[in-house]
Each structure stands twice: as C-alpha cells, then as structure tokens.
C-alpha cells in the first residue's frame, strides 16, 4: 500500500485536480433525486468518438453534457492489476461475448472508453479501406486526401508519433520473424507523451503518458464548462416527427451493473450517439428510431482475432514494455480486400489473467504453460472482416432487459483466414527461434517443428468455442452512407430520419478498418463534429 500511496503523490492526477477545481462531474450512483439537465448538445459516450466531439463542440462555444455508463477513474486509481482493472474499466468485466459466446470482446466502459484501456496503436485508415467505402458504399468526403488534414490534426492533438524506443522482446519476435520470412513489417505509431514503457496500457495508464480521451479532450471539455455524468446509462431517445426531444437515462448503482430508481432527463438541441459500435446501435434500437429498411445494428465488425503462443529460448517477459510496437500488413497488402480474407499481424501484452483465460486446457497441462510465462511469446492475427459478400459481420439486437447482444456468425470464409493466419504466425515464430508453438485451438497442443504445426493446423476442426477467437475492435452497426435504404446515417453522421440525432463513433464505419481503429474514429469524428458545430451555428 505504501508504494501505491507514494505513486499517487508523485504523479499528478489531472482528473482529481480538475474535480477539485470545480468541474461539473456528477456520479449518478450517488444522486439523491431525479434530475433534468439542459444543454446545447448531449453526447452519449466518452470514448474516441465522444471525447473528440466534446472538445470540438465546447471549443465552438456550445454547452455540452457527456453521458457515460462507466465510472470515472484516473491515474491514481490505475494500479496495474488485472483483477481490479477488468471489472472496473471494461464492458461486462472484460468478459463480453458474442451471442453464441464464440468470440470474447475486450471493450472499454469507463470515462475515456476504449482509449483509457487500449494499447495505444495508432494507424491512419488504410487507403484500401477508404477506397472500398467510396467504390462499394458510395461514401464521399472521406478519401485519403480529404481526411489527411484531420489525421494530421488529431495526430498533433494526441502526440501520435512513431515509437522510437526498442520494441519489447515480444514485439521483437514479430519483426525478427517477419524479416526472416521476408515479409513487410513496420513500427507502430503510439499516442503517448513521456511514456515510461511499463506495459500496462490495458489497465489504465498510471503515469498519464497515454494521450487518451481521459487526459486530453475530456479535461479540456470539462474545463470549458461541459458537464460529465458518470454511472449513467442512456436508455432511449424520446422523439416525435423528425426530431429527438429528450434523452432518458437511468442512474446505475455503485457496482455499475444495475440501475437505481433515479432518472435523468437531458434536453438538448442536438443529440450525439458516441456509445461505440454495439452501444450506439443498441441505444438507437431501444429508442425505436425509424429504421424502415432494418439497417440498424447490421454489419457490425470485430476483426475476429486468432492467437498463436510460442515458447522461446530467451526470456520474453511479455508483460513488460510497450504492448504493441511492431506490426505486419503483408497479409493485408498482398490480399485484395474483395478476395479471401486478409489479416493484420500484431503482438499483444502477456499478463497472467489474459494469458490464463486464453490458453486452452486445464489441470497440469495448463499449469505447465503458465509456468513458462516468462518465455512465452504471443502473436495475434486480426481478420479484416466486412469486405466480401461472405463477410457480412454481426447484428446487434437487444436482450430481454434491453442490453445489447451481438450475433456474429462464423463461416468458412472466416475460418479459411483463421487457418492461414495460424500457419503464418507459427512460421514467423519458428523463424524467430521458437522452441515450440501452440496455435490456440482445441486442447492447446504444442508442436516443436513447423512441419508438425502445419500438419496439425491443416487437420484442425475449426469451429466456435473450440478455436479461440477474440476481438478488441468493434466497428459498424450504424453505417454512414448516402442512401437511407442501405445506411443508418448520412455522410455527415446525421440520422436519415431524425434530423437532430447524430452518430459520431466507430459504428459509422461501413466495413471494419483493417487496422486498430482509434485514429480512424478520431479523424472522422473530428471532421464530422466540426461540420456539426458549423451547422449548429447557422
């Protein structure tokens, strides 16, 4: 405890300082009575979309209310312990799953949303993705050239720059394996300032080095007079005709799992849904917004991700150091988006809980894998979903209590990519010197030669809940587009049928991104929120 106290004293906490200076922050779990609040704009969600929009709208002179279902935690609370961070900062205690439970979804639920817990990887939206949006979905205004200044603006705002420190040993295996096998690899750009290279980004940055929404746009919005409601679940927009009239919310209890009896109503000129893919479509579904062509919640994408674990001769200590600093796009760049599914290769942080729940099997076999943790090296392959007719993504629906459920079907098109990706990762790991490789599937057998691994993977019966699939990127579900019959919002993010309802988050995307999505959300939301500010002024 002494060290925790010492650390909280030695590192400034901009959130606690801001609250002490008089920011308008209301923890709804403590509300003694119902509340009605008025503002120019209410934004549901405080992640990459909501945070970016809030700063732009406050800077433009509007009064803004931010609604966040999760808690407000900050650097003094971030003690780098998985057992504390996952229940506090993630959707469903980091155990959110697709409807059939085949894909585990890591998604933030706290002030700052995913940006508070992500691994800081920052990529501009790949040109192939933007081209597909233009060609296949009629998207205009979001070309590489048109977005370039917005990428530049957000990169400057969030200190996004190439990581110049040597990669940790886990990431070094990816670059070494890629070099050995002759495929492209690159250094990841990160949104950090004065990073201590600790490796605990996923549990909230304890040093405020990560330039998440929590330490950048949200403090600026609050300093500019915005109001932040935490532990507040946006239940539904109340609307009639072509306009939203109110946002109805429920206060959550201190555990964040159950609503209390307290209601909060927010009335505004403009209503912005930035609750993230899954959250935003669910909010609109609960609001029963007009959806004559049943587009809402459709085409939700996950970058379904397969995992390969190796044991190396050298120590890896994969919990230590920037979690992601090397990537390979070889199997995206050499795969036309409309062909067999391509994948991005990265390395994840290797912490005890995340590793233990990902490694298949139990008993002594599992314990032996865990005992090799310091020598464990892990690669992940993120499948680029949504570019092929056989990859329509998932559908967000509502459970009996109104919470979201994501139905995401797996099919041969995806399994083909999963199989190729497992082989590729094993090839890289052996090329980099792995003693054995465990493609994460079935009971998690380890193989000591690439020939054995290839043969085993070729024979794998890839199927749900046998092959481990994870996701840390949720995209789509309220797609933007020019045609109301095939999209939910227009090219400005304005709902096709409700003229003062706007979607500003990753649910806008017509496909997956094919890269970690945070910078795509920042740039596109910055552009659309700037348009919204101009529209509200005129």
């Amino acid at each position: 405890m002494e060290s925790a106290v010492a650390s909280s004293l030695s590192i400034a906490d901009p959130i606690r300082e801001g609250i002490a200076s008089g920011w308008n922050v209301i923890d709804a779990s403590t509300l003694p009575q119902d509340r009605t609040i008025e503002a120019d704009v209410v934004i549901v969600g405080t992640g990459a979309g909501g945070g970016t929009a809030a700063e732009i709208l406050v800077d433009a002179g509007f009064s803004v209310v931010l609604v966040e279902e999760g808690p407000l935690q900050s650097s003094s609370d971030f003690r780098m312990r998985e057992a504390e961070a996952y229940p506090a900062l993630y959707q469903e205690s980091a155990a959110r799953k697709t409807r059939d439970k085949a894909i585990s979804i890591l998604q933030g639920r706290c002030v700052g949303g995913g940006t508070t817990v992500n691994w800081t990887s920052s990529f501009r939206t790949p040109a192939a993705t933007l081209t597909t949006w233009a060609r296949s979905f009629g998207v205009t205004g979001l070309s590489e050239t048109e977005l370039s200044p917005w990428f530049g603006k957000m990169e400057a705002r969030l200190s996004i720059a190439p990581w110049t420190v040597a990669p940790n040993a886990n990431n070094a295996v990816l670059s070494r394996g890629a070099a050995q096998t002759g495929i492209h690899w690159g250094t990841i750009r990160r949104n950090v300032k004065g990073c201590w290279n600790l490796g605990y980004c996923g549990m909230g940055c304890p040093t405020n080095a990560k330039q998440s929404m929590l330490v950048t746009t949200i403090p600026r919005a609050l300093a500019g007079g915005a109001t932040l409601l935490t532990r507040t679940r946006a239940m539904a927009f109340e609307w009639n005709g072509d306009r939203v009239r109110a946002l109805n919310c429920l206060a959550m209890d201190a555990t964040g799992t159950v609503p209390t009896a307290r209601k909060i109503v927010v009335r505004a000129r403009a209503y912005v849904a930035s609750a993230g893919a899954i959250g935003t479509p669910a909010l609109l579904l609960r609001s029963r917004v007009p959806d004559p062509d049943a587009r809402l919640g459709k085409r939700t994408f996950l970058h379904p991700t397969v995992v390969s674990a190796a044991v190396m001769e050298e120590r890896i200590d994969g919990w230590s150091g920037a979690p992601q600093s090397v990537y390979s796009d070889h199997y995206l760049d050499t795969m036309p988006p409309e062909g067999p599914i391509g994948f991005k290769l990265e390395a994840p942080p290797i912490h005890p809980i995340l590793t233990a729940i990902t490694m298949p099997g139990f008993g002594v076999a599992h314990a032996r894998k865990m005992q090799a943790l310091p020598h464990m090296q892990v690669l992940i392959a993120l499948l680029r979903d949504g570019f092929h007719p056989d990859s329509p993504g998932g559908t967000v629906t509502l459970a009996s209590d109104g919470t979201p459920l994501l139905d995401y079907s797996l099919n041969d098109y995806l399994w083909d990519g999963a199989r190729r990706a497992l082989v590729t990762m094993a090839e890289l790991q052996f090329a980099a010197g792995a003693k054995s490789v465990t493609p994460v599937h079935g009971v998690g057998a380890a193989y000591s030669t690439i020939a054995d691994t290839r043969a085993a993977i070729a024979a794998f019966d890839l199927r749900p809940l046998v092959t481990t699939l994870v996701s840390a990127h949720v995209m789509g579900g309220a797609a933007l587009g020019p045609d109301p019959r095939t999209s939910v919002v227009d090219l400005q993010g304005r709902h096709h049928h409700l003229r003062n309802l706007h979607v500003l988050d990753g649910s806008l995307f017509p496909t997956s991104i094919g890269a970690n999505p945070q910078l795509s959300i920042y740039a596109i939301v910055a552009k659309l929120a700037t348009d919204l500010a101009a529209a509200l002024k005129s």
Binding site: E2, A83, T257, W319, H366, Q371, T403
Partner: protein
C-alpha cells in the same frame, strides 16, 4: 438458492432451456420439483450460495491441478481465495450473464441434471477428481455449443480468479506490477 442471493431470481422453467440440451425436457421438468439445498453459505460470499460454493470448490483443484500450492494449509486457503474471486467476478457481471451462470450452477446442483451433465450421483463435495476431470472434458468436447460455452465460462472464472491473485505469480515467474512511486 440462498434467500438473498442475486441468483435466486433465476427462473428455471423459463430459462433452463439454455443449458438444457443434454438433460432433456423430462429431466428438467422433474428438477423443478426438487429443491436444491438451502444450506447457509459462507458469510463472505455475495453471489454463490452453498451449492454454488461447493461446485466451484470442487472444480478449482481439478482446473488448477499443478498450479495450486502443495502444502495442505496453503492449498486449502488458495482454494478458498479462488472461490471468493469467482464470487466477486459474478457480482461484477451484468445481471443477464450472472443469471445464465446461476442457472448453470442450479443445473449442476440438482441431482437429475447433475447426473445428466456430470454423470455423477455423488454430491460435489464427494465427487472424485477423476469424475470432475471427466466432467470438464465432456463439457469441453461436447458437440453442443452451449455446453462448450459452459466449460469456457467455468474455465474463465476460475483461471481469472487464481491468476489475478498475487499468490499465483511466483510460480509463473511474474513479479507483479512495477513500482512507480
């Protein structure tokens, strides 16, 4: 279920179909007339009742074979720690997810469904390690996706509980988070 348990509201007749595939409708219809034990749970547990506690306590030594400390006292308290951690995890889950798991524990507690799922007539307290190992393998290798999901849920709850505990770290060569003060 325990009177105050958040799992008490599990409506078996309405929701049991989710995990019912293997047990069959007759078995479940019968199980509705059976009352699981209402033995008092440990005071520190917030969600698990005595049955749930017994089930998790029985699964932990098998799931964590080779991982728990060897000395009897340390082993016993590590099992208690892990059950407590599972209970805390259940408390933090959204109500629907908690209900689903509660329903799984109910089915595992009731004799007819326990027999159907675990092939054991003995209580969880008396089940042998090999019985439990066979039960876990049967869930894991089931052709029924929902039973594999049940295995996954138990796997996740128990491994997350143990490996989130600093007591587990020395054996896996993890020194814990760095000091930054």
């Amino acid at each position: 279920m325990h009177r105050d348990s958040p799992l008490r509201n599990v409506n078996l007749s309405r929701r049991a179909f989710i995990f019912a595939g293997v047990a069959g409708a007759t078995m479940l219809a019968a199980s509705r007339w059976l009352t699981p034990s209402a033995a008092p749970r440990k005071d520190s547990l917030r969600v698990l009742d005595a049955d749930g506690e017994a089930i998790v306590a029985a699964l932990v030594p098998v799931m964590l074979a080779g991982a728990l400390p060897a000395a009897p006292d340390a082993r016993r308290s590590a099992i208690v720690d892990t059950v407590d951690g599972v209970d805390r995890a259940l408390l933090g889950l959204p109500p629907l997810a908690r209900d689903e798991l509660g329903q799984l524990f109910v089915l595992l507690a009731l004799a007819p469904t326990r027999w159907a799922l675990a092939h054991t007539t003995s209580s969880w307290n008396d089940a042998s390690a090999s019985d439990i190992e066979a039960f876990l393998q049967r869930l894991r290798d089931s052709r029924i996706g929902l039973l594999r999901a049940a295995y996954d849920a138990l796997h996740q709850l128990i491994f997350a509980s143990w490996y989130g505990n600093p007591r587990a770290w020395a054996a896996i060569g993890y020194g814990g988070p760095p000091r930054i003060g």
